[in-house]
């Protein structure tokens, strides 16, 4: 209760409340612009916080992070482009719903799920920072490797039909992940002497290329593309009755998000994919996933907002940032002379409670700001197609350019656009590609590090209990899905043999 009154005092006596609201608004814009990731939205803001009071500054940055994780879902739903890495899983069902004319509902679900996930994540951050930090500590190399493998097992459910094509796409993603500096030896791999490739290819460049650029190319190909879209989209929050259908997916998303946020190096994209997979498994209508499932939006959106809160656990308890965005937030603390880490709670309790209070305000105000800011976004996508496509092209190029102020990245985005176009033509699924890309480094680096620990002895993977448990779970997922597919195929074959299916 003491903490609560401290937080209340800080929120009512400093500009922290305004910082929280302003941060969310800026975060939503930043997240919604493809190419401006949450970490870039934070980095752009950081220089403006140097002169502020520390609590106001950190609340502003924290609120931006919260808003940006939500904002990424807006272009995912409306223009088939994830605004952030973590919104990649939202694209599938979100854009499907939008094309069916249910885009407003999809936006409402993602907004409400983001708020639910964010609040649950925040409650866990406030109440369980200490025990959650022990979870982070108990993860060593073999455990991270097994986590990556568990993530890759999700390919089976993301492949939508052709598992072979899904595996090929995932392998391609894994191959892209090997570009850059070798995680162990430091040798440059597949960089062709280009310094731009030394640190690897940013995920967002691949995703924007594959999703957005290829969509633009497809649209330019359609004969009737000059026509205006007649369906006018309006945001529609889920009713209480609908919420009852969604709470399970949101719960799964929040749970996965809390877990992934705590661990440095895991992050929002993996949380979004894993929660999508889990929501599908536990859903009463798994067949709807990939075809405009509401739960398929609720789970990843709850997950990435939960991550934004619990990613602060390692920052506050060890002084170790769990994500790029958390790293910039931590940089902000250091600039203000606050040393994140084990002593922070004792030395600067006002700061910690002020931050918690600010994040609560940010999460709640997100609901209202989301509705407010959706209106112009919807107006934009309701413009005639040629204008919209030109605007998306400009938006994507300026967003990608802003990452490193480099024209090199623009060529990369075009290259991946071409790749996405070919993938569309040959009906390859995108999500396994993204998953392979996001998990490739995690799996490879931690596999090799694990073997360095034991001088090449593979027993380390089953002698580490967490790793063993995760690997068994992954094996069960894959065999379970395979069995189900085989049974379904047999049933279908039987029906075909018996005659035409009753329609």
């Amino acid at each position: 209760m003491d903490g609560f009154s401290t937080a209340w005092n800080i929120l009512t006596t400093t500009p922290a409340v305004f910082a929280a609201i302003g941060g969310v608004a800026w975060g939503i814009i930043g997240g919604a612009l493809p190419g401006i990731s949450p970490s870039i939205a934070l980095a752009l803001l950081l220089p403006f916080t140097y002169g502020m009071d520390p609590i106001t500054a950190i609340v502003l940055l924290g609120a931006t992070y919260v808003g940006a994780e939500y904002g990424g879902s807006i272009p995912a739903i409306l223009i088939n482009t994830p605004g952030t890495n973590a919104a990649a899983a939202t694209v599938v069902d979100g854009y499907y719903m939008h094309r069916e004319g249910r885009g407003g509902e999809a936006l409402g679900i993602s907004l409400q799920s983001g708020v639910v996930g964010g609040m649950i994540g925040l409650i866990f951050l406030i109440a369980f920072t200490e025990p959650l930090s022990r979870v982070a500590l108990s993860f060593n190399f073999p455990a991270y490797f097994a986590l990556g493998i568990l993530g890759l097992s999700v390919i089976v459910s993301l492949s939508n039909g052709s598992l072979v094509k899904g595996l090929m796409a995932a392998t391609f993603g894994l191959m892209i992940a090997t570009i850059g500096t070798d995680p162990l030896s430091g040798v440059s791999r597949f960089t062709f002497g280009e310094a731009e490739l030394l640190t690897g290819i940013e995920y967002v460049i691949v995703m924007v290329g594959v999703f957005a650029m290829s969509e633009l190319m497809m649209t330019a190909n359609t004969p009737d593309w000059g026509k205006t879209d007649q369906t006018q989209t309006r945001i529609k929050l889920p009713t209480f009755r609908k919420w009852r259908k969604l709470w399970r997916a949101q719960g799964i998303g929040s749970g996965v998000g809390i877990f992934e946020g705590v661990m440095p190096g895991a992050g929002g994209s993996i949380a979004a994919f894993m929660s999508y997979n889990e929501a599908k498994r536990w859903s009463s209508e798994p067949e709807k996933f990939g075809k405009g499932s509401e739960e398929g939006i609720a789970a990843p959106e709850a997950a990435n907002n939960a991550v934004a809160c619990t990613a602060l656990v390692p920052v506050l308890s060890f002084g170790i940032p769990g994500s790029n965005s958390a790293a910039i937030l931590m940089g902000g603390m250091l600039i203000h002379g606050l040393q994140p880490g084990p002593m922070l709670f004792q030395k600067e309790p006002e700061f910690v409670y002020g931050l918690f209070g600010g994040l609560a305000v940010a999460n709640i105000s997100q609901l209202f700001l989301g509705i407010l800011m959706m209106t112009p976004a919807l107006w934009l996508v309701n413009r005639p197609k040629p204008f919209l496509m030109a605007a998306i092209f400009g938006l994507v190029f300026s967003g990608i350019y802003s990452i490193h102020n480099s024209t090199y990245d623009l060529y990369l985005v075009l290259l991946f656009g071409l790749m996405g176009y070919l993938m569309r033509v040959f009906a390859f699924p995108f999500l396994p590609l993204v998953l392979g890309l996001v998990l490739g480094y995690l799996v490879e680096a931690n596999y090799r590090r694990s073997l360095e620990l034991t001088s090449g002895d593979h027993r380390i993977f089953w002698e580490t209990p967490i790793a063993l448990g995760l690997l068994i779970t992954a094996a069960l997922f894959v065999t379970g899905s395979a069995l189900r597919d085989i049974l379904a195929a047999r049933k279908a074959a039987k029906r075909v043999a018996e005659g035409p299916a009753p329609e």
């Binding site: 980095a43 009071d53 500590l137 162990l184 030896s185 430091g186 060890f318």
Partner: protein, 324 residues
């Protein structure tokens, strides 16, 4: 809060030095530019960014001109180097140096590399420290070396990234002592710290600023420093030399500019850095960070940087990180 207080006192000091410094200003040569840009490859909030932004407030009053910090990120310093190499060599733009820009130059085929820049002044050395978890059985480097010799696989060494200076230092440590223990690389200082705290690696190298929270909380313990002398903040921690291992690490922080800078600009910087380092308020900041002031003028710094690059190249070739 602290920052704003600092700014207020900073303004007071500036007023005082203005009044007091009129006579010295008459002697000192006027800086030929109103605004000087300091470019860093570090993103906003990163180590070099924080250092430069902290320093420019004091530099401004020491050199009588305005400084701005610009983040030119991407390409591990190559974008920043390209910008510098194409800028006029007139003292209006400088680059915040760290070992990174030399490493990047060596590891890739750049259009503009570190040889297109020239050293202007060094400011600090970051002391590298050897640390273990607080309940580690090792009390000093000698015990660690003995245990590693008895069973190399049981004493695992942790470093941040594969091409980093600390990896190089660990390998040098191994060759100086004849140890064969594996060196495990991480994705950065944070991951390395977790590996030490959860016992995955036995010992690691790091920097005081990154570890101060854990040192203060008693979670980790320092075994040695790779410095010439003991650090004033940690008088009980011996240097590696005291343990009979001749290893001193030079992780520098300074400034470089486009090649061909006029000598008078270089002289102004040499004097300016001396004045900044003597500023009591700046001193309080850098002493708290355990940064070791190591001023070098342009001529000395250029020699130092070239020597560093040679050593670095030899190391990268020896460990197969680069060919030729």
């Amino acid at each position: 809060m602290r920052l704003s207080l600092g700014q207020i006192t900073g303004r007071g000091l500036m007023a005082a030095t203005l009044a007091f410094g009129l006579s010295t200003a008459a002697q000192a040569q006027e800086y030929p530019h109103d605004t000087v840009t300091l470019v860093t490859h570090s993103s906003a909030g990163g180590g070099t960014d924080v250092f430069l932004r902290e320093m420019v407030g004091f530099l401004g009053k020491a050199m009588g001109t305005t400084f701005v910090v610009e983040n030119v990120t991407g390409g591990s310093g190559s974008n920043a180097m390209a910008k510098l190499a194409q800028s006029p060599a007139d003292g209006s733009i400088f680059y915040g140096t760290t070992p990174t820009y030399i490493n990047t130059s060596l590891l890739s085929e750049l259009e503009y590399d570190f040889t297109d820049l020239e050293g202007v002044a060094n400011v600090f050395m970051d002391p590298q420290i050897v640390f273990v978890k607080s309940d580690s059985p090792f009390q000093n480097l000698t015990e660690l070396v003995e245990a590693a010799k008895a069973d190399p696989a049981a004493v695992l060494f942790g470093v941040t990234t594969p091409g980093s200076l600390d990896r190089q230092v660990m390998e040098q440590f191994k060759s100086l002592t004849g140890i064969t223990s594996p060196v495990i690389t991480h994705d950065g200082g944070g991951e390395l710290l977790i590996s030490v705290l959860n016992g995955t690696v036995s010992v690691a190298i790091g920097e005081v600023q990154e570890l101060s929270a854990q040192i203060e909380a008693g979670e980790i313990r320092l075994l040695a420093t790779y410095t010439e002398e003991r650090l004033p903040n940690f008088p009980d921690v011996p240097t590696a030399r005291e343990a009979g291992i001749d290893l001193v690490v030079t992780k520098f922080r300074g400034l470089a500019g486009p090649r061909g800078l006029p000598q008078d600009i270089k002289d102004l910087w040499a004097a300016g850095i001396d004045r900044v380092l003597a500023d009591p308020e700046f001193k309080a900041w850098y002493e708290a960070q355990s940064l070791v002031p190591t001023p070098m003028n342009a001529a000395d710094y250029e020699v130092f940087l070239n020597k560093f690059a040679e050593d670095q190249k030899a190391f990268l070739i020896q460990y197969g990180i680069m060919s030729q």
